[in-house]
């Protein structure tokens, strides 16, 4: 078998094989992130990658090129590897976009892996997103590599002598200022127009204490146990969907603030209003009744918040299981005690 492979690589038919492979690099349809938009541009009318023989094709078995379009998350890494293994030999990988290189703007994200650790890579293309020209250049370089056998970058930097010296003894301070003991208040009263105030008064009549936090923004604090009742009351009042479920972690006060932003589509006067229904939970026992039964639109966001903070929404059937995150992600990454890598300003 090895002899056969050797024959294919360097035997008498090798030039024909090289010629065929080089003009027929078909990228598999594996969209991994938003660089896919530029990939589509590169293969659409504007640049038409088919000109140079690269035809974007359906699935792994019939293709020979993977273009990793940006970020590879922990979930996607498996799929990338499976796809790569499904592809028949000879196969090539090009990574486009900074997300796939060192993360780009997501460089310290907890959910990204580096694709060059998952599959062997032939070419790297910078840019966020890389322009279609850059992608075509990558394919072009790969063609040249197949033809000539020597891999080359398409850029050469010219060095200029800038002298040698030392860095200053003190590292300059980071521009970030982070309060060590932050006090978080979500219902800071702000001035607003009359209509919002009137509406807030009307809602107050339901027996709920409201604060006007801006034009068309009303905050409403309830105790943990009253949340379901309040939600039912507000539903009768006209709020019919949840726009947002949010949890704020305040470790120095040992609490979670759980917010439901309610809105309305059915009542015209309520349409611009965002009502922030919030409650506080102890950090040690983050449990509350789910609102997914009353507002089905809250369902997925509750699952997401469970992923991020470990808050248990009792009654939501998805509790205890990961929804958005991969099984091997660090536990509850959005809690304040989970720290990300800090920036470095010196090399």
């Amino acid at each position: 078998m090895e002899e056969n492979i050797k024959f294919l690589r360097s035997g008498i038919l090798a030039p024909i094989k090289k010629w065929g492979t080089h003009w027929s690099l078909w990228p598999v349809h594996l969209v991994t992130a938003c660089c896919g938009a530029e990939l589509a541009h590169a293969f659409a009318s504007g640049y038409d990658g088919e000109r140079i023989g690269a035809l974007n094709y359906g699935i792994a078995r019939q293709t020979n090129l993977i273009i990793v379009e940006g970020a590879i998350t922990r979930k996607m890494a498996r799929v990338l590897r499976i796809t790569w293994e499904q592809m028949p030999d000879p196969k090539f990988v090009i990574i486009m976009g900074t997300c796939g290189l060192n993360g780009g703007v997501f460089w310290n994200s907890y959910h990204l892996v580096k694709p060059f650790e998952v599959v062997p890579v032939n070419y790297f293309i910078p840019g966020c997103p890389s322009t279609p020209e850059a992608l075509l250049r990558g394919i072009r370089q790969l063609q040249n590599e197949i033809r000539t056998g020597e891999p080359r970058s398409s850029i050469e930097f010219e060095k200029v002598d800038l002298g040698k010296g030392k860095m200053m003894p003190v590292t300059p301070k980071s521009p970030k200022k982070i309060s060590l003991a932050p006090s978080i208040v979500v219902n800071v009263p702000r001035k607003a127009d009359e209509e919002t105030k009137k509406l807030a008064d009307e809602i107050s009549k339901l027996g709920l204490a409201t604060t006007v936090t801006g034009k068309n923004r009303i905050a409403l604090r309830v105790e943990k146990d009253e949340l379901v009742d309040a939600a039912k009351k507000l539903q009768n009042f006209g709020f019919d969907h949840v726009k947002n479920v949010n949890v704020i972690d305040v470790p120095n006060e040992d609490k979670f603030i759980v917010e439901y932003h309610l809105g309305s589509y059915s009542k015209r006067e309520l349409m611009p209003v965002v009502l922030n229904l919030f409650t506080e939970l102890p950090r040690s026992e983050p449990k509350l009744k789910s609102l997914a039964k009353i507002f089905p639109s809250a369902d997925y966001m509750e699952r997401e918040m469970h992923d991020f903070f470990g808050v248990v929404f009792e009654g939501n059937e998805w509790m205890g299981r990961k929804f958005l995150l991969a099984p091997d992600t660090p536990e509850y990454p959005l809690k304040k005690d989970f720290k990300l890598e800090e920036e470095k300003y010196l090399r």
């Binding site: 009318s45 900074t98 290189l101 060192n102 460089w107 790297f124 850059a134 250049r137 800038l162 470095k344």
Partner: protein, 246 residues
């Protein structure tokens, strides 16, 4: 409000639409409205506002760290040459050009280089000494294409010329500033400002005012100071200030 009506197709309408669609296809097949830029053979001319690879002018740089600190991706890190100069890690750079926008002296500039493929990740970390000159890239093109819209019709105009990929540096009009000490009495004498200064323009002297009472005198060498503001940002007591020089 526009109400989008529900479409009901009868046989005649349906046939008409079939004919329209086929007619459009045959029209395009005979006389195509082609919009393709055949990249390796021809290059699209991007405007001068294009955000591409970054060119560095070491003479203007004051090592103020602004580019490194504003970078959202932390792609710019300072590297020691004769002074600390920025180096760009293109494995992280997202071409937002906040650095260029932040540079108070205009030492960073854009270029039209963007179509680059690297073989190795290590090659993508570009030091300041490699950014001074416009890098050479592989060019296969013979034409330059302009996108023009004329009389409501979109055309590609091909010219047999090579596009110059450099962008003339934009003049930055920021008045020169130097640092002064606004409240000398609050100075702690921690020497952070002196140690962080890339030009060694600050000296801190200790003066014994009375017994066991020490005061510090902070002296700025105005001819050395370039107004980078690092000391101002570093000072824990906020005693330093940047002032405009006339």
């Amino acid at each position: 409000m526009i109400r989008v009506e529900k479409v009901e197709l009868n046989l005649v309408e349906s046939l008409k639409r079939h004919v329209e669609a086929l007619g459009e296809a045959f029209k395009q097949a005979i006389k195509p409205d082609r919009v393709t830029i055949e990249y390796p053979r021809e290059r699209r001319r991007y405007p001068l506002s294009f955000r591409g690879f970054i060119i560095f002018n070491s003479e203007k740089c004051v090592s103020c760290f602004r580019c490194a600190q504003i970078c959202p991706a932390n792609a710019i890190q300072m590297e020691a040459h004769s002074k600390p100069y920025p180096s760009i890690d293109y494995t992280k750079c997202i071409f937002c050009h906040f650095c260029i926008e932040s540079c108070p002296t205009g030492s960073l500039n854009s270029s039209k280089i963007h179509d680059v493929a690297f073989r190795k990740m290590e090659e993508m970390v570009v030091s300041a000494n490699m950014m001074v000159k416009l890098p050479r890239i592989l060019k296969e093109e013979k034409f330059t294409v302009d996108v023009i819209v004329k009389d409501k019709y979109w055309k590609l105009l091909r010219k047999k010329e090579m596009d110059d990929l450099s962008i003339p540096p934009i003049k930055v009009e920021v008045p020169k500033k130097i640092v002064t000490c606004a409240e000398p009495e609050s100075c702690l004498g921690c020497r952070l400002c002196a140690n962080v200064c890339p030009r060694e323009a600050i000296t801190v002297k200790e003066i014994e005012v009375a017994k066991r009472v020490v005061s510090y005198v902070l002296k700025v060498l105005t001819e050395k100071c370039v107004g980078c503001g690092l000391c101002v940002r570093q000072c824990p007591m906020n005693v330093l200030k940047l002032e405009v020089v006339k």
